[in-house]
Amino acid sequence: MRLSREDVLHVAWLARLELDDAEVERFTWELNQILEHMEKLKELDVTDVEPTSHVIPITNVFREDEVEKPLPREEVLANAPDATEDAFRVPRIVEES
């Protein structure tokens, strides 16, 4: 086993994903199974091979830094599950001093 239950809980925390016990168990099994399958990649010699991140070699794409018209605030907030007139509402992040 490559991944333990604790590893799975750590990955879930990194991914901001709450898991119930059944999911922890399932992902521990599934991830180990799939990672075993990925061992196949080690059969290939990749010494001195450059990685491909994009198939078309595009480096920096520049444009003038021009101010464009932003979306109206109401439109930006229209999809928010919880909003005031001018802000997204979330649980308190900053402690009161």
């Binding site: 994903l17 990649l41 091979v49 198939v55 999809n79 599950p81």
Partner: protein
Amino acid sequence: MELWQLTISEAHKLLVKGDISSVELTKAVLERISQVEELVKAFITVAEDIALEEAKAADERLKRKENVTILTGIPIAVKDNICTKGILTTAGSRILHNFKPPYDATVVERLKVAGAVIIGKTNLDEFAMGSSTENSGFFPTRNPWDLTRVPGGSSGGSAAAVSAGECLGALGSDTGGSIRQPAAFCGVVGLKPTYGVVSRYGLIAFASSLDQIGPITKDVMDCAIMLQFIAGHDTKDSTSINMAVPNYLDALVPDVRGLRIGIPKEFFAQGVDERVADAVLKGIELLTEMGAEAVEVSTPTAEYALAAYYIIAPAEASSNLARYDGVQYGYRCEPTPNDIVAMYSRVRKEGFGREVKHRIMLGTYALSAGYYEAFYLRAQKVRTLIRRDFERAFEACDVLITPTSPTVAFKLGEKVDDPLQMKLSDVCTIPVNMAGLPGISIPCGFQDGMPIGMQIIGRLLDEPTVLRVAYAYEQASGLRNLQPPLKTAAV
């Protein structure tokens, strides 16, 4: 022939002659949807009112003969991971169950400028992750050729809608085969363009280095038509290629004399149903009878593409899907926990489906400290080897021809609990995304009444040759605008 059975080019002729109006055509398609949708379930949203308004506007253009294009007045469906201003766009996920984008994707904007009628938004596997449309957060779509079978995926809704006559053409997206495999399963044409030919602005991102939007249509000519309108540079997508768009319709010449067709033997190896392989080889035979030359080629690293894909795609997905946190849009859990990280984690637990969580977990692990080199970086190096394989193969030939998928459409439920089996259904299409190449699937026969798809792969940016071979084959075989024996709901 009913109006909903027309191809885009056929309907266009009738529209410009004034024999039919866009409102009549749109109403005929909406009527067809009302008859078959209960069986096929291709759409998450049917935009009836908006479509009829757009059809009226198109009729005005046609009447005044102003700015008329081949797409003016044509009802087109759009996969529901492509943003449509003011029209629900869910990506097949509960986490976006109520999301109405404040903007259009560039491809949608271009269709609208051309005067197309957006008829609705089609079903998909959640965030395009899947090969059967069974992973939709809402409901599965069924194959119009056999309602007990899947339409393929992830663009299963778009392929089923085109096949069932619920639109004249559709947009899909393809990360590992999500346009071509459902096109094969539903007996229609589906093209994944070269990476960078079509803007991804407004496409809800799955794996950004692989995702590409493309057309799903009833024949090859319609495919070239739709590509013509959506292709081209877009400053809003920094990966879109700045180039002059060729005239894809000019490529539709039924002549393949002297053209070299590569047969990569690895794509016909074990796991590919013999009857599927036979149908594709017969297709190649037909092309050689027309004057093309067949050569055997080898792409030895292609068999590693699947494993590399299942590192790269989930890794990119885990990063792209970090934005779904229940703050700016989409699902928010009730009650909301007092701690913000607890809120994010609960929103994501309740909003994402099983396959999406699986890939987020896999991708997060593959990118995490200590594992990045072993997994993600190695997979990207393997990707380089796959690209080189294709480059070598293309020294000996002009196109490659393979099966699109190893089998015809499988039964609903058959592979849903066997993720590895499900993923094998994309084994012939994934290498093409890894190398960024253009690939089309066209029908090349039937097995027990189910369509078989043939994949034609081209060099980077060589959509014209891919379309030419597809067109030549289609003209010679007569396999175009196929009508599934779909029984309409009993009234």
